[in-house]
Protein backbone atom coordinates (compact mmCIF):
# COMPACT_ATOMS: atom_id res chain seq x y z
CA UNK A 1 0.00 0.00 0.00
CA UNK A 2 1.37 3.40 -0.89
CA UNK A 3 2.38 5.81 1.81
CA UNK A 4 -0.49 8.10 2.65
CA UNK A 5 -0.77 11.59 4.04
CA UNK A 6 -3.09 11.20 7.00
CA UNK A 7 -2.36 14.46 8.78
CA UNK A 8 -3.27 17.95 7.62
CA UNK A 9 -2.32 21.21 9.24
CA UNK A 10 -5.39 23.09 10.40
CA UNK A 11 -9.06 22.36 9.77
CA UNK A 12 -10.44 20.21 6.95
CA UNK A 13 -12.49 22.45 4.69
CA UNK A 14 -15.96 21.52 3.44
CA UNK A 15 -14.61 22.30 -0.05
CA UNK A 16 -11.95 19.60 0.34
CA UNK A 17 -14.68 17.10 1.33
CA UNK A 18 -16.71 18.06 -1.76
CA UNK A 19 -13.68 17.83 -4.04
CA UNK A 20 -12.86 14.40 -2.59
CA UNK A 21 -16.34 13.17 -3.53
CA UNK A 22 -15.99 14.67 -7.02
CA UNK A 23 -12.64 12.89 -7.55
CA UNK A 24 -14.37 9.53 -7.07
CA UNK A 25 -16.99 10.00 -9.77
CA UNK A 26 -14.63 8.47 -12.32
CA UNK A 27 -14.39 5.25 -10.30
CA UNK A 28 -17.44 3.60 -11.80
CA UNK A 29 -17.30 0.38 -9.75
CA UNK A 30 -18.30 2.41 -6.67
CA UNK A 31 -21.95 2.18 -5.68
CA UNK A 32 -21.78 3.68 -2.19
CA UNK A 33 -19.71 6.09 -0.15
CA UNK A 34 -19.78 6.63 3.56
CA UNK A 35 -18.33 9.70 5.21
CA UNK A 36 -17.59 10.51 8.81
CA UNK A 37 -16.82 14.11 9.74
CA UNK A 38 -15.63 14.96 13.23
CA UNK A 39 -16.43 18.55 14.21
CA UNK A 40 -15.02 20.41 17.21
CA UNK A 41 -17.84 20.76 19.72
CA UNK A 42 -18.23 23.64 22.13
CA UNK A 43 -18.28 21.62 25.33
CA UNK A 44 -18.65 23.42 28.59
CA UNK A 45 -16.03 22.72 31.26
CA UNK A 46 -17.03 23.96 34.71
CA UNK A 47 -18.07 27.53 33.86
CA UNK A 48 -15.93 27.81 30.73
CA UNK A 49 -16.59 27.02 27.10
CA UNK A 50 -14.25 25.20 24.74
CA UNK A 51 -13.04 27.63 22.08
CA UNK A 52 -10.86 25.28 20.05
CA UNK A 53 -8.95 22.03 20.20
CA UNK A 54 -5.22 21.94 19.57
CA UNK A 55 -4.23 18.53 18.19
CA UNK A 56 -0.81 16.94 18.39
CA UNK A 57 0.20 13.43 17.39
CA UNK A 58 3.14 11.11 17.84
CA UNK A 59 3.40 10.94 14.09
CA UNK A 60 6.23 8.39 13.86
CA UNK A 61 3.90 5.89 15.55
CA UNK A 62 0.53 7.23 14.36
CA UNK A 63 1.29 6.83 10.66
CA UNK A 64 2.18 3.11 10.76
CA UNK A 65 -0.78 2.45 13.11
CA UNK A 66 -3.13 4.24 10.69
CA UNK A 67 -1.67 2.28 7.78
CA UNK A 68 -2.35 -0.99 9.56
CA UNK A 69 -5.92 0.13 10.39
CA UNK A 70 -6.48 0.82 6.69
CA UNK A 71 -5.00 -2.55 5.70
CA UNK A 72 -7.27 -4.27 8.21
CA UNK A 73 -10.31 -2.41 6.80
CA UNK A 74 -9.41 -3.57 3.27
CA UNK A 75 -9.01 -7.15 4.54
CA UNK A 76 -12.33 -7.15 6.40
CA UNK A 77 -14.58 -5.28 3.99
CA UNK A 78 -15.06 -5.17 0.23
CA UNK A 79 -13.75 -1.67 -0.38
CA UNK A 80 -12.88 0.19 -3.54
CA UNK A 81 -10.95 2.84 -1.62
CA UNK A 82 -10.66 4.54 1.74
CA UNK A 83 -9.15 7.79 2.93
CA UNK A 84 -8.46 9.30 6.34
CA UNK A 85 -7.50 12.88 7.16
CA UNK A 86 -6.93 14.14 10.69
CA UNK A 87 -6.13 17.71 11.60
CA UNK A 88 -3.14 18.88 13.59
CA UNK A 89 -2.81 22.27 15.23
CA UNK A 90 -5.59 24.58 16.36
CA UNK A 91 -9.11 23.73 15.17
CA UNK A 92 -11.83 26.14 16.23
CA UNK A 93 -15.28 25.07 17.35
CA UNK A 94 -17.49 24.23 14.39
CA UNK A 95 -14.53 23.26 12.20
CA UNK A 96 -13.85 19.76 10.88
CA UNK A 97 -10.95 17.84 12.45
CA UNK A 98 -11.48 14.30 11.11
CA UNK A 99 -12.61 13.12 7.68
CA UNK A 100 -13.01 9.41 6.99
CA UNK A 101 -14.20 8.50 3.50
CA UNK A 102 -14.90 4.92 2.41
CA UNK A 103 -16.14 3.79 -0.98
CA UNK A 104 -17.37 0.35 -2.01
CA UNK A 105 -19.53 -1.36 -4.62
CA UNK A 106 -22.32 -1.65 -2.04
CA UNK A 107 -23.46 0.35 0.96
CA UNK A 108 -22.93 -2.22 3.71
CA UNK A 109 -19.18 -2.51 3.20
CA UNK A 110 -18.76 1.26 2.92
CA UNK A 111 -20.69 1.90 6.13
CA UNK A 112 -19.13 -0.89 8.18
CA UNK A 113 -15.62 0.05 7.10
CA UNK A 114 -16.18 3.72 7.91
CA UNK A 115 -17.37 2.88 11.43
CA UNK A 116 -14.50 0.44 11.90
CA UNK A 117 -11.90 3.03 10.87
CA UNK A 118 -13.34 5.83 13.05
CA UNK A 119 -13.49 3.65 16.15
CA UNK A 120 -9.99 2.27 15.52
CA UNK A 121 -8.58 5.79 15.17
CA UNK A 122 -10.06 6.81 18.50
CA UNK A 123 -8.71 3.71 20.26
CA UNK A 124 -5.35 3.06 18.62
CA UNK A 125 -3.83 6.21 17.18
CA UNK A 126 -1.65 8.41 19.43
CA UNK A 127 -3.37 11.73 18.85
CA UNK A 128 -3.96 14.18 21.69
CA UNK A 129 -6.49 17.00 21.89
CA UNK A 130 -5.98 20.00 24.12
CA UNK A 131 -9.29 21.77 24.70
CA UNK A 132 -8.59 25.49 24.81
CA UNK A 133 -10.87 27.33 27.20
CA UNK A 134 -9.61 30.88 26.67
CA UNK A 135 -7.35 33.02 28.88
CA UNK A 136 -4.53 30.43 28.83
CA UNK A 137 -6.78 27.82 30.41
CA UNK A 138 -7.15 24.35 28.92
CA UNK A 139 -7.83 20.72 29.65
CA UNK A 140 -6.76 17.55 27.87
CA UNK A 141 -9.60 16.04 25.88
CA UNK A 142 -10.86 12.62 26.94
CA UNK A 143 -12.71 10.50 24.39
CA UNK A 144 -16.01 9.04 25.55
Amino acid sequence: MKKRDFFVDGPISPQFVGESIARHQKKTSIGAHDIFLGQVRQDSVADKLVQAIEYTAYQEMAEPVLSSIMEEAFDQFELTCAHVYHSLGRINIGEICLFVFTSAPRRRSARQACTYIVEAIKEQVPIFGKELLGRNDYQWKVNT
Binding site: Y55, V125, V142
Partner: protein
Protein backbone atom coordinates in the same frame (compact mmCIF):
# COMPACT_ATOMS: atom_id res chain seq x y z
CA UNK B 1 25.53 4.33 30.20
CA UNK B 2 22.91 4.29 27.44
CA UNK B 3 21.83 7.39 25.59
CA UNK B 4 18.06 7.44 25.15
CA UNK B 5 15.53 9.96 23.88
CA UNK B 6 12.35 10.46 25.87
CA UNK B 7 9.31 12.18 24.38
CA UNK B 8 6.19 13.34 26.18
CA UNK B 9 2.68 13.90 24.87
CA UNK B 10 -0.56 15.31 26.25
CA UNK B 11 -0.87 15.35 30.03
CA UNK B 12 2.67 14.02 30.48
CA UNK B 13 3.98 17.31 29.02
CA UNK B 14 2.21 19.15 31.84
CA UNK B 15 3.77 16.78 34.39
CA UNK B 16 7.31 17.31 33.11
CA UNK B 17 7.17 20.80 31.53
CA UNK B 18 8.92 19.45 28.45
CA UNK B 19 8.13 17.53 25.29
CA UNK B 20 11.47 15.83 24.79
CA UNK B 21 14.79 15.18 26.49
CA UNK B 22 17.97 13.15 26.08
CA UNK B 23 19.02 11.02 28.99
CA UNK B 24 22.08 8.99 29.96
CA UNK B 25 20.65 6.02 31.75
CA UNK B 26 21.40 2.53 32.97
CA UNK B 27 18.57 0.14 33.74
CA UNK B 28 15.37 -1.30 32.33
CA UNK B 29 12.02 0.27 31.55
CA UNK B 30 10.69 -0.14 35.11
CA UNK B 31 13.81 1.57 36.44
CA UNK B 32 13.32 4.37 33.94
CA UNK B 33 9.68 4.87 35.00
CA UNK B 34 10.73 5.02 38.65
CA UNK B 35 13.48 7.48 37.81
CA UNK B 36 11.09 9.72 35.88
CA UNK B 37 8.47 9.66 38.64
CA UNK B 38 11.10 10.75 41.16
CA UNK B 39 12.31 13.47 38.80
CA UNK B 40 8.76 14.58 37.94
CA UNK B 41 6.47 13.67 40.89
CA UNK B 42 3.30 14.65 38.98
CA UNK B 43 3.95 11.72 36.63
CA UNK B 44 3.20 9.42 39.56
CA UNK B 45 -0.47 10.38 39.34
CA UNK B 46 -0.70 10.27 35.55
CA UNK B 47 -1.95 7.27 33.59
CA UNK B 48 0.13 6.57 30.53
CA UNK B 49 1.43 3.81 28.27
CA UNK B 50 5.00 3.60 27.08
CA UNK B 51 6.14 3.11 23.50
CA UNK B 52 9.71 2.04 22.80
CA UNK B 53 10.72 2.75 19.22
CA UNK B 54 7.10 3.43 18.21
CA UNK B 55 5.66 0.22 19.70
CA UNK B 56 3.62 0.05 22.92
CA UNK B 57 5.44 -2.27 25.26
CA UNK B 58 5.58 -3.64 28.77
CA UNK B 59 8.85 -5.34 27.93
CA UNK B 60 11.38 -4.05 30.39
CA UNK B 61 14.35 -3.94 28.07
CA UNK B 62 15.78 -0.67 26.77
CA UNK B 63 18.81 -0.36 24.54
CA UNK B 64 21.23 2.39 23.66
CA UNK B 65 19.68 4.82 21.16
CA UNK B 66 16.07 3.83 21.93
CA UNK B 67 13.24 6.32 21.73
CA UNK B 68 10.96 6.01 24.76
CA UNK B 69 7.64 7.84 24.55
CA UNK B 70 5.06 8.46 27.29
CA UNK B 71 1.55 8.31 25.86
CA UNK B 72 -1.50 9.22 27.94
CA UNK B 73 -5.02 8.31 26.80
CA UNK B 74 -5.54 9.02 23.11
CA UNK B 75 -8.10 11.64 22.16
CA UNK B 76 -8.13 11.84 18.39
CA UNK B 77 -11.24 12.57 16.37
Amino acid sequence: MMQITIKYFGLTIDCTSRSEEQLSFTGNLSDLKQYLIIKYPLLGQAIFQVAVNQVITNDSKIEDGDEVVLLPQYSGG
